[in-house]
């Protein structure tokens, strides 16, 4: 007889534990505002990333099309993946001295692991992380970018 009682009480206890779980799911079912899903493509206009979010490496230019990159190549050395190539050119200054300037700062976004080492190690703070994240393109050659804009030159007063 006691075996039957045990059986019945086990069944009832089991059902009770199931109801306990159902209470939680029921609670959230009737409170949809507690649901955290982001409606991503719809909220693109209002979506704001954190300011430190690492999306891609960019080189900020001021309104005169000037940047801070000296072409020292430290970012190229510190990159673990070889995603940066620095091509420098030599120009003749008016006073007859030769000076090395940046010709192309080539950045392969497709090979970049967004580790931030280049940004951290750049001695003249010439590159920063941008908050963009929609990087899908049709052809991977589009992922190779030249960060210094055409015709740009170095800002006055950047220490070499």
């Amino acid at each position: 007889m006691s075996a039957i009682w045990k059986y019945i009480s086990d069944v009832l206890k089991g059902i009770w534990t199931l109801i306990q779980g159902m209470r939680i799911t029921g609670y959230y079912f009737f409170r949809p505002r507690l649901i955290v899903t982001q409606q991503y493509p719809e909220n693109r206009r209002t979506l704001e990333m954190f300011e430190r979010f690492r999306g891609e490496v960019t080189m900020p230019h001021n309104e005169n099309n000037e940047h801070r990159c000296t072409g020292c190549g430290i970012c190229e050395i510190s990159c673990p993946n070889g995603s940066i190539e620095i091509i420098t050119a030599t120009v003749l200054l008016p006073d007859g001295k030769k000076k090395r300037i940046i010709d192309k700062h080539i950045y392969h976004l497709g090979m970049c692991s967004l580790c931030n080492l280049c940004v951290k190690n750049c001695p003249s703070d010439a590159i920063v992380m941008a908050q963009t994240f929609e990087h899908a393109v049709w052809d991977r050659t589009q992922l190779t970018k030249v960060l210094n804009r055409p015709g740009s030159k170095i800002m006055e007063g950047v220490k070499e």
């Binding site: 534990t17 199931l18 306990q20 779980g21 954190f50 430190r52 692991s113 580790c115 080492l117």
Partner: protein, 372 residues
Amino acid sequence: MQEAEPDRIETQEYLVNMGPQHPSTHGVLRLLLKLEGEIVHHVDPHIGYIHSGIEKMCESLTYPQIPYLTDRMDYLSAHMNEEVVCLCIENALGVEVPDRVKYIRTIFSELQRLASHQLWWCVMGMDLGALTTFFYGLRDREKILDIFEETCGARLTLHYSIPGGLMFDIHPNFQKRVHDFLNYFRKKLPEYDQLLTGNVIFQERTRGIGIFPKEAVINYGVTGPSGRASGFSCDVRKHLPYSAYPFVSFQEALDDRGDTLARYQVRIKEMWESMSIIEQLIDNIPEGDVQVKMKGVVKLPEGEYFQRVESARGDFGVFIISDGKKSPYRLKFRSPGFSNLSALHAMSKGWKIADLVAIMSSLDLVIPDIDR
């Protein structure tokens, strides 16, 4: 021709592949099962499907570049992986990092442990057929990932620790957000128990399943929550305290039943402990720098260095042999997942396939950690 008698059906052992794309193997782990009917006689794990040669790659990277790569091993305890390499390099150089760095690293480790256990919890529920847990676990994990993202700009592969300190100082909102999270999660964690732990189906599928005695745990080198569930006190945070762990008091979550339910409950207890550790540290972060000035080219003195930390899965170690150059001569990781997996065949022998899934979930395997 004689007809076979119907009551003399012969059974025989047969082999079945579980994985490498099976949902409950959490990645590309292939288990070769030797079965008799539904009973598992032997499990043969075949690993290496996502071997990425991280140890070998480290030999060609400079020391400051190594931590970023270790994020990709056990991606659920990314911060601990970085921390162990940084600690090893700092110890080898004799660099003492400021207390502020130690505190922040410890808070990050514990947040990372919480995030990892949350993911483990929701996946364990899902493996056993309770899909709801998956959404609730991820919902709470999202809050931690937001904290990470605000301070270091990434959610999974943080790259926050670097040799000699931290990549950035904490974000001004960091402490407030952590407090908010703790208040929030303290209310949510009892829900986990209510939803899954007490559930009769879950209890029936885990209690007494895959019992693993303490001697076997030690012999197989099972560490972390899986080892502590069998009564093996192996918490590196307690026995070889590093970073800010000497300054906090916490209980090592131990259990001596050694079954799947014990492994589950040890992790739930660890979540409470992690919250208490964060609480002790978060308001007392000392002022100071977050970075020691390091040389431009970091070179370790010739020799062999070893450092251990407690990752979310167990005892994580790194062994560096340096020949005085700017990259290591050899670098070896001791990953907890690998040793824990080695015990799977002994744990699951004689149990059913469905039990094997529960046992494997309770080990909390991360496959890149095993394959590296």
